[in-house]
Symmetry: C2
Subunit: 111 residues, 2 copies
């Protein structure tokens, strides 16, 4: 049990948010998302050339983003076409919105 996150003691929402946000907490995965925003379309493999990583490592990062629900992929010939998945981002949206609203309102910082 040592070294393992105690997921059972948090709310489903807290665990859900943590999984989603954790999936974004790596520069390679940030770079993948940014690339998807930039090219404004699907990416099919050329991503390996964009990143300083070997193909299996890129594949692994894509899998993590996909499992989290932040990107989705569809088979396109013998390639796979990835794009942003709005479902995942929708789920973190309100969390950051709440924080931004809080900060906006609370101009009087207490610390």
């Amino acid at each position: 049990m040592m070294g393992t996150t105690k997921t059972d003691f948090y709310t489903d929402r807290q665990n859900e948010l943590a999984i989603l946000i954790k999936a974004l907490g790596h520069p390679a995965r940030i770079a993948i998302i940014q690339h998807l925003l930039k090219v404004d379309s699907c990416i099919c493999g050329d991503l390996v050339n964009e990143l300083p990583l070997a193909q299996p490592t890129v594949s692994q990062h894509l899998k993590e983003l996909k499992n989290a629900g932040l990107i989705k992929g569809s088979v396109e010939g013998n390639a796979i076409c990835y794009c942003l998945d709005e479902n995942g981002f929708e789920k973190v949206k309100s969390f950051f919105q709440n924080i931004n609203d809080f900060i906006e309102k609370k101009k009087t910082s207490c610390c």
Copy 2:
């Protein structure tokens, strides 16, 4: 070098975002932020009672959030008073804003 993130090959912005977002990618640290939003003030130690973790572990999570620039603490007697740090959240704001704008515009999902 194996097992280590290749930070040198990413942009400063990508590394900065990854550090900030990674700091939020744990249910205990999500819970800490949510608690700060809820109580609408500083927290002084009572946080240990809110979380299913021992005091040293809570202290460690607080340190991570503080190092990332997401919370700040001030000495208040023999206690420490923590609250949200707007600087850190300001830095991730535009990233998620860009994604939300992108999703809003691009109603025609390609996958």
